[in-house]
Point group: D2
Chain length 284, copies 4
Amino acid sequence: SRFEYVKSFEQDDSILPNVWIVIRIDGKKFHKFSKTHDFEKPNDENALNVMNAAATAVLQEFRDVVLAYGQSDEYSFVFRKETTAFKRRSAKLLTYVTSLFSTSYVMHWSKWMNLPLAYAPCFDGRVVLYPSEQNLKDYLSWRQADVHVNNLYNTAFWKLVLEKGLTNQEAEAKLRGTFSADKNELLFQEFGINYNNLPAMYRKGTILLRKRVIVGEKSRQAIVPLHEDLISSHFWKQHTEILGKYVPGTYDAPVPLPRLVELQLNEKQVSEEAEEPQNEARIS
Amino acid sequence: SRFEYVKSFEQDDSILPNVWIVIRIDGKKFHKFSKTHDFEKPNDENALNVMNAAATAVLQEFRDVVLAYGQSDEYSFVFRKETTAFKRRSAKLLTYVTSLFSTSYVMHWSKWMNLPLAYAPCFDGRVVLYPSEQNLKDYLSWRQADVHVNNLYNTAFWKLVLEKGLTNQEAEAKLRGTFSADKNELLFQEFGINYNNLPAMYRKGTILLRKRVIVGEKSRQAIVPLHEDLISSHFWKQHTEILGKYVPGTYDAPVPLPRLVELQLNEKQVSEEAEEPQNEARIS
Amino acid sequence: SRFEYVKSFEQDDSILPNVWIVIRIDGKKFHKFSKTHDFEKPNDENALNVMNAAATAVLQEFRDVVLAYGQSDEYSFVFRKETTAFKRRSAKLLTYVTSLFSTSYVMHWSKWMNLPLAYAPCFDGRVVLYPSEQNLKDYLSWRQADVHVNNLYNTAFWKLVLEKGLTNQEAEAKLRGTFSADKNELLFQEFGINYNNLPAMYRKGTILLRKRVIVGEKSRQAIVPLHEDLISSHFWKQHTEILGKYVPGTYDAPVPLPRLVELQLNEKQVSEEAEEPQNEARIS
Amino acid sequence: SRFEYVKSFEQDDSILPNVWIVIRIDGKKFHKFSKTHDFEKPNDENALNVMNAAATAVLQEFRDVVLAYGQSDEYSFVFRKETTAFKRRSAKLLTYVTSLFSTSYVMHWSKWMNLPLAYAPCFDGRVVLYPSEQNLKDYLSWRQADVHVNNLYNTAFWKLVLEKGLTNQEAEAKLRGTFSADKNELLFQEFGINYNNLPAMYRKGTILLRKRVIVGEKSRQAIVPLHEDLISSHFWKQHTEILGKYVPGTYDAPVPLPRLVELQLNEKQVSEEAEEPQNEARIS
Ligand SMILES: Nc1nc2c(ncn2[C@H]2C[C@H](O)[C@@H](COP(=O)(O)OP(=O)(O)OP(=O)(O)O)O2)c(=O)[nH]1
Ligand SMILES: Nc1nc2c(ncn2[C@H]2C[C@H](O)[C@@H](COP(=O)(O)OP(=O)(O)OP(=O)(O)O)O2)c(=O)[nH]1
Ligand SMILES: Nc1nc2c(ncn2[C@H]2C[C@H](O)[C@@H](COP(=O)(O)OP(=O)(O)OP(=O)(O)O)O2)c(=O)[nH]1
Ligand SMILES: Nc1nc2c(ncn2[C@H]2C[C@H](O)[C@@H](COP(=O)(O)OP(=O)(O)OP(=O)(O)O)O2)c(=O)[nH]1
Ligand SMILES: O=P(O)(O)OP(=O)(O)OP(=O)(O)O
Ligand SMILES: O=P(O)(O)OP(=O)(O)OP(=O)(O)O
Ligand SMILES: O=P(O)(O)OP(=O)(O)OP(=O)(O)O
Ligand SMILES: O=P(O)(O)OP(=O)(O)OP(=O)(O)O
Ligand SMILES: [Mg+2]
Ligand SMILES: [Mg+2]
Ligand SMILES: [Mg+2]
Ligand SMILES: [Mg+2]
Ligand SMILES: [Mg+2]
Ligand SMILES: [Mg+2]
Ligand SMILES: [Mg+2]
Ligand SMILES: [Mg+2]
Ligand SMILES: [Mg+2]
Ligand SMILES: [Mg+2]
Ligand SMILES: [Mg+2]
Ligand SMILES: [Mg+2]
């Protein structure tokens, strides 16, 4: 038709080859959302698991995502450098990831939360490119260092408010200018808490990897959550598949299995269902 | 921290000022999704209304969206030329719209559909810029011409298959090479159907506008669905607020009110709730 | 060869259709360059004409440039909205214009200047897009308002330094905080100069347009310099071809002809020479 | 002024950090330009040296260019990954390099050529980004493989035309479908030419590097031309400064010195002149 010329206004947005593609999503106004839905402070285990479940859905769909990292109301998805998914079209990758994460968040909500959703949550998303392995590791380290700083502060803050009855202002004043060591000390002295013994998910966030899970005599692939320190080089030596050949390693499964993994084992395997796998990764 | 430098890899993506910003979302593999969820063929009124409800949520949130247009598994959102929402950052606008549409689709699903969702649906999104009014009108005309061509074909196709018992191949063969007039004729002769009498929503798609709805003696704003011909200049003369000063006109309400509107009137008004309106439009 | 994959790293940079494309070039460190080559202060008529001659070469080559505007060490080239020159590839347009301007500047230098070039001059270039006529006019007005402000200041400044013997610091101090009216007054009272009688090229910059020049009984096209006020609407009414159909108007030639035009009339007509015109404009 | 808002239409174009920035320029219609100026076929030593001299000027100005590679009417400039020259603004880097190359080409012309320039030459330029060392080496190998293929063909072609009197068509027909070995053989059998003994500049193109040149008892930096095979790893081992710390190595000077280098030694050293070095490289 005479209107078709308008299609030509769409602009090419293919991403430079040979760089790591990171997509980070972040909850819109989750300050308000977490209040409305009575999230536990400073960390709501179930709410974090809704995030983890939604991210797991993204990894199940996009085989070229080799790692995801989540904390608070955000999640980062790392596409391998060589991916040709959606011809590396930036908006396609960005919106599919953001959309699937968003709808999965809503669909998984009631598996973990008691309250119904009061309104539709919403996430922003962005694409960031990293040319080198070091840049990529530093990106993930940046996000993990962020959770450390915030969580130590928030833990101390909410202890002061919820258990010592300080007002928000008083708690803030008390913590202003303190160093990590001070806050560790305060938690230990005043609340008998050894910060390092708090749940690793709160302190380190969640790393999602594709792994072989041994179930009895069989093994099958699943997306598994880790709460390790990815700033140290140890992590990268343990999980060489991330930067290497993408052949999933074996899951060093804790007992009991995380519910996130168990739910997957109870599903029919995704890769069996998929009619037309869109993003073939070299995964054996 | 020493990792913060990675933030500088984020690139500025502000959109050129003074152009219409169109965001079009489209369902991922809705061919399969509509089958899985038993959509009526060729048009499922309720499924289309889930789309309309989700789009309505977007217009309620983003006051600078002056018009939305939907058909099949797609929706286009038009931001006014002058919008400064999110500093015109492309990825922010794109992902918020796509994410909110996506989660609203899931949340509204059960209001219109009997089947539960079998899996999380997913939408892609793209940003397209139009410098002139004519370009914008032509864009919308392009989408509306598309629904006309597709719907006439699909209506004939499914009549042949579902009522005349043709196989898909036979129906396709029969319609190959026919013109609009031929298909109109076929529908009339063989099925006694006057195509122009089919529901306007199927033939024209859905235009969503912000209008003043008169309710008894009061009036309040709502997002209302129209199924008019936007290719003709008449439409633009009737709804001058779209390209003009964005002062909502009065809704010429049908009786009974569309359920989409009624649901809104039963809600507390969104603009009353909103704590911090992010996108102030010049709307009186 | 096995190396050809690197070609795919080149990224598409086509410019959005239906916007005015402005390319502005600016001399690199012309503060130093003008000193080294003893430009007259504040305006060197010949040096400005080297700029004008170089810009004329650009208009002769690129028929889709409908107007150029120059002042000081800068020149702006306006491509008509509909241009498809070089498929609107941004880097191609940008570099061809910048490169041709640059080499033409060097080649024309000795026609106007006595000193040889001490070193190779260099220009930066940028592409700026304007969606509406008003934006485009405002852009050009911005550049012309800039020359007014700077030139009035510089005229007063150099009078004080060169004729009244003030040091640079004294002259600057004297002018600090003054308004246009003050500087006009100062020029008149202390130097008997009516600013408005100074050469229009210094006060208004140079507009280059393609016009029909009447030579005896024949007429031929040439690029002609105007020094008019383009901020007023009068200018746009006089030269409707710029925003309209690009049919060159008739040159209202001063006597004697500017040397810039005379030099062109003495050349064999460019359009006769050109083997393969690359950028066909609708020019009769 | 009320016009200043138009400045905001300029868009940020900073280049992703930590990638190699390659700027390649290429002569516009040099098919015609080389004919007009009677270039020797297939290679004009002097014309190539004008290219080399212009590129040398670029390396003298931009310290962050660690290597340039030229052949035929093109030159590629490689900026080190870490460069912050002009804040990595793409258009600034692109246009400064293209403009300075262009004007230097004109300024150096008469040092090497007898004919005056018939018209202003013009070059296009583009920016291409390479994330890894391997990509960068492959890029340069691609350009060097290109010169090999073209030059072997052209050498055979012009021998057949100029010495055997074949028409262009006959020569083309004779060479159609031949392999490299065939053309080598033809040159040897019919013209007694050992292709590998032809000047390296024609066969390999020209690599420009910054090196320490030993002159008597002193040493000073200069831009030196090499005609080596950069596809082999040997080259990269010999010139580790390119990918390493950018500390210029020592020039293994042929006797007599290339005129390109001699001309530099006769100049006052550029770095002594420069008032404000813009692009500080870590060069000792
Ligand atoms: N109580 C509680 N709050 C949480 C939890 N996880 C995240 N949040 C809240 C704390 C923060 O206010 C908010 C995340 O901070 P952001 O910087 O993303 O701000 P927010 O989402 O409010 O604004 P934004 O739209 O992202 O700019 O989410 C949780 O497990 N428990
Ligand atoms: N039965 C039925 N199908 C519908 C209805 N609305 C949309 N669909 C289906 C018909 C098409 O197969 C599909 C929309 O076509 P698309 O071109 O968007 O293809 P699809 O979404 O399958 O693939 P995509 O991922 O967008 O490339 O959705 C409806 O009301 N009823
Ligand atoms: N004496 C004299 N100087 C002129 C004339 N035209 C331009 N200039 C000088 C005055 C300014 O110092 C300079 C133009 O100002 P710019 O803002 O472009 O600065 P400049 O080129 O030095 O630095 P840049 O590399 O553009 O950032 O050129 C002229 O006709 N006579
Ligand atoms: N005779 C002769 N010709 C040369 C020499 N170096 C380059 N050329 C000519 C041969 C080619 O026709 C031309 C370079 O090829 P290009 O692919 O760049 O084509 P051209 O510049 O004509 O068109 P373009 O504007 O770049 O698309 O320059 C030389 O040393 N001698
Ligand atoms: O949202 P913030 O404040 O955590 O920081 P950001 O995500 O980098 O900011 P923005 O969302 O505006 O890009
Ligand atoms: O998806 P299609 O085939 O309707 O057409 P498109 O949306 O323009 O194609 P793409 O989704 O690949 O941009
Ligand atoms: O160069 P200036 O200072 O006149 O201003 P600008 O040209 O807008 O700045 P830049 O050259 O850095 O884009
Ligand atoms: O100019 P060519 O044909 O050698 O190839 P190219 O330079 O890649 O093409 P273009 O100049 O059109 O980008
Ligand atoms: Mg944010
Ligand atoms: Mg948030
Ligand atoms: Mg957050
Ligand atoms: Mg599509
Ligand atoms: Mg679809
Ligand atoms: Mg569709
Ligand atoms: Mg500047
Ligand atoms: Mg300048
Ligand atoms: Mg300037
Ligand atoms: Mg080319
Ligand atoms: Mg060329
Ligand atoms: Mg070439």
